[in-house]
Amino acid sequence: MEQLAIVLIGLIFLMGLMVPLLRPLFKNYTGRILALVPFALFGALTILFFTLPDQTSRIIETGFGFLPEMQFTFRIDGVSLIFGMMVSGIGGLVLGYSSFYMAKYAGRTKFYFFLVLFMGAMLGLVFADNLLALFIFWELTSITSFFLIGFDHDKEKPRQASLQALLLTAFGGLCLLFAVILIGNLAGTYSLSELYDKGFRFGAHSDYHLVFLLVSVAVATKSAQFPFHFWLPGAMNAPTPISAYLHSATMVNAGIFLLLRLNPVLGGTILWKSALILAGGITMFIGAFFALGQKDLKRILAFTTISALGTMVMLIGMNTSASIKAALIFFIVHGLYKGGLFMVAGIIDKNTGTRDIDKLGGLLKTMPITSIAGILALLSMSGLPPMLGFIGKELIYDAKVQIPELSWLVIPLGVAANMMMVAISVLVFYEIFLSRRNKKPIALKQPEKRLPGNFLAGPVALALVGLGLGMAPGWLEDTMANAMYFIQSEVVDIDLALWHGFNQVLLLSIFTVAMGVLIFVFRRPIGKLVRIIIGWTDQYHLPDHFNKLIKNYLSFAGKHTNRIQHGYHRYYLMTFFAATFVLVIYQLFSADDGWFPVKQVSPLQIHVIVVLLVAMMGVIFAIFTKSRISAIISLGVLGYGISVLYMLYGAVDLAITQFLAETVIMVIFVMVIYHLPDFAVLSSKKSRVRDALIAAGVGVMITLIVLKARFINLETPVSEFFAENSFLEGHGRNIVNVILVDFRALDTLGEITVLGLAAAGVFSLLRFDLKDKNTKK
């Protein structure tokens, strides 16, 4: 059964990749047919769910990996089962739901392609045993969600939203990668199972702070924790099925999953507790608060997701058995109601054309089934019995009560947030399903009866599961216990029930609900107040700031790029020389044997000096003359001077070649420029002085470099061999020639190639030109 589950995950990937082929085949049934695979997986996982023994995990090796350490090994235990069932179950429902929701959209192939791949990536993520594999799936969820959020990419808003989502989650992904490598480097393994078995704890290591920082950035970006939460409301630009899926079981919950997975390795330190509780608490509060001020149903839901994620992070941060248990249950609760509510929102949107709660109303009458599914989900959200949400909230309060040293902070925060959640639930319930006051009646596009049955199946199924699990939470106990074992490394008995007797926790619950209803009653003044505050915080509207940040960065980069890559070759050259100069001088000074070695080996020869002086004068004349021809001729003086120098030192061949080459160049040069006017003085005096200084610097540098070489061979040169063998083996008396044509013939071959290429190049450059003129005529 384990193998089957993994094979099914592989199949999901395969199906995803094959969507472009399958869709023409299945036409409008694509979504429903694709849904079969996740449902099959859900079935397999259900069997495992009920058969997995306590305190055991199953490791499935596929034997495949990108790299030896990057093996795709999977792990089935309580944690991955709970997450996997949510991902596959809701995934199947979302696919079926999309079949109807997306029926009229263009680009469905793309939609299913990325949705199914996204599902596969998420499943891979929750089942991965290898941390690197986990990272790869993590990145894949970021990439695929980028495409899903930007589905409607003709419009500016979805593009911006998907860019923000990708940048933030990819940033987190990079942090995760680094953290994973750090962990792997220290623990010597990337396998979660081995880490668990060894009881490896990172807490005391000096790199712990870095690792924790990186992991928490990864979690905060993925799970939309403050201050990285802002991409999530933007992600609503995706089609509603995507929102339903991203919010309920996948994407944002990946961060939660990661925290649970790494809890045994990284958890339990002061840093872990304080940072997570703080971040989670703030996120929980502001999420709920912002939700209160929204009018768009989907936006309301998006902000409540942020709040819920904050709650989970905070619970994990508390790091007690009770809190982890609460986090797990709350994950299930949240997934069920949030998935259902988004689907309901989608149906309402489709059928009425609006998601504005001020415009909607009285749907209980016109769309009873949708409404009942929605109301059940709302019950769960506000934590009322008999839904699983009630148990979830009780557990949360229980966990908070159990840590007295922090309860002064977490209980008020939690109660405040929950109050608002209750208020939101009531508000939504009232405004959408009940109220008809002051509202124009909403015209339905078609009566609910005419809606395809499967369209409603998603939310109804989720609502019923929430209800069923609330009635019979005992089903969850065994797997929960297994999960707890691998998260907290301790054996915990789980006892879930709706009714725990009359206690402190229940009192808190009642208080919360009462306050929530109170807020609802005074919704107008409170709503106004909230909107004022939100309006005030809007100047800190993070998505805009993020865009501004990007814009500022771009203009900053643009400015500096223009400064660096300005287009003036002179400054490029100056940079080259300056950098070389610095390096050389540094080297010369740092050598311990002095930097100005004036060691003369050969005696001064007056005739050589005369030649050099003449050549030098030629060059200086070339600099200052205004006539082109005389500049070229004075350059020739230099060339011939050097030729004479070679001759004086016995390099006859060289002298001849130099002489010939110089002549050829002069001839070509004259041919090329004879028709040009005289030099104009193009540069200012100031820049000439500056250039002269730079030139002098380079001159000094080169002189020093040459002198530094000190003119002694440290080793016998190989030319000894040439001198000895040139005649005997190479059959030539002119050693230079023998070197060129025999010993180092390959160099000569290259040289001839250069010459040939140059000739062909000149030819094609000039001929091309002729042709150009012809075509112009």
């Binding site: 287009g567 050589v608 050099l612 200086i620 016995g650 390099a651 030319s719 060129l740 000149v762």
Partner: protein
């Protein structure tokens, strides 16, 4: 003598760089030639200028000794470099010709366009 030649090379480099930094493309090319020559001299000098015998094996002998003659290998290298330099020079000049024909200017600061947005 090495000191003198080294200073000569340094001066050539200085002149060459100064020419390279001019705005006129013709001067730039002159600068390239000067530096190219100076670079060849570096190779030559580092091969040693203590001996000045021609690197020939006399018609009687079978072998020659490095004791008396200039090291032949740097000569071969410079020869290669000169010829390569010639090829490149020819191409630069053709390019220069073409450039003037297309743009009608030899001011290199007109070249900054392609770098800017």
């Amino acid at each position: 003598m090495e000191l003198v030649i080294a200073i000569f090379i340094g001066l050539l480099y200085a002149c060459g760089v100064y020419l390279l930094l001019r705005r006129s493309i013709v001067k730039l090319i002159l600068g390239v030639f000067v530096i190219s020559n100076a670079t060849n001299l570096i190779i030559f000098l580092s091969g040693g200028v203590t001996r000045s015998g021609v690197s020939f094996i006399g018609s009687e002998a079978e072998k020659a000794s490095l004791e008396t003659m200039t090291d032949p290998l740097p000569q071969a290298l410079i020869l290669t470099a000169i010829v390569i330099g010639l090829g490149i020079a020819a191409y630069i000049l053709a390019l220069k010709y073409k450039y003037f024909e297309t743009t009608g200017t030899h001011d290199l600061d007109q070249l900054s366009k392609t770098d800017q947005k």
